[in-house]
Point group: C2
Chain length 169, copies 2
């Protein structure tokens, strides 16, 4: 059994695998502000169709079977005079959990955004109880610029803060 993990630009044909990664995260509502009952069509538009967005997938190939392990998208955080700052979002599915896929995707997005000419990257809404994500982004060079108090309604923790995180590229 050979297991190769590749990070590459997403193609339309990857959507079913991407949705397998996204759906549990969106339904759980612990890490993202997408509506928990978002339809697959709306999720597809939000993930693949955002203006100026590029989407990456982490794909494993085992015995010729391809599995999407996680996905990331990055795009201008603001248009116009703010378009040199990238924003990015990451979701790792259960097939990719505990395999360092978040870090691989993070490194790939940083490199791709730098290569596309972005000068920095900003996360607007990192849920403060998502400690693994906060630790990962810190280890990849992001600082917490601010925590917006009680900005996220967590299904079990109630109102928690949203970190604004940032790093130069």
């Amino acid at each position: 059994m050979r297991d190769v993990i590749e990070i590459r630009q997403a193609a339309d044909a990857d959507w079913p695998g991407i949705w397998q990664s996204l759906e549990p995260a969106f339904r759980a509502g612990e890490t993202y502000t997408y509506p928990r009952d978002i339809t697959e069509d709306d999720a597809r538009r939000a993930w693949l169709g955002a203006a100026g967005a590029r989407v990456l997938v982490a794909v494993s190939t085992t015995d010729d079977v391809r599995t999407v392990l996680g996905t990331a998208k990055y795009l201008p955080n603001h248009p116009g005079a703010g378009a040199h700052v990238a924003n990015a979002s990451f979701v790792v599915g259960s097939a990719g959990a505990g395999r360092g896929i978040g870090r691989l995707l993070g490194e790939a997005v940083l490199a791709a955004a730098r290569s596309d000419g972005y000068r920095s990257m900003q996360f607007n809404a990192v849920v403060e109880t998502n400690e693994r994500a906060v630790r990962l982004w810190r280890s990849l060079g992001f600082d917490i610029l601010a925590t917006v108090p009680e900005a996220f309604e967590h299904p079990t923790h109630g109102l928690v803060g949203l970190h604004v995180m940032f790093r130069r590229l």
Copy 2:
């Protein structure tokens, strides 16, 4: 000559007056991240058509002639679990300059957002060189939570910071 200033919800028929306020601000590119060459149609979609947005106008009536002096919109800063935090944007046109219209609109938006059930209000991108706006928001109870460095390309000042500002409602 009687001059009455009223703040009310915008109607479709207000668009030409709203655009008269917005266009110079968007074209100047000193205070907003909208593309400076945005078309009127795209501006209309962005201002009147954003999901969940409510739009206010400040209108003066002088000798039965109505003039839009400025406009504001507010909407959820994030959907889903972040939808209890409002975001808002304000533009005062040349017809309203120096008449306290920004403050009137600010007070009206704070009251309307509170009445709609929002728990707080967040500005994501207040250009740090827009000192009059920063002073106004501070005087209306907003704090600067963070300044994202070099996040805005100002046409004359070059790269300047964007303030994230916040207050509870």
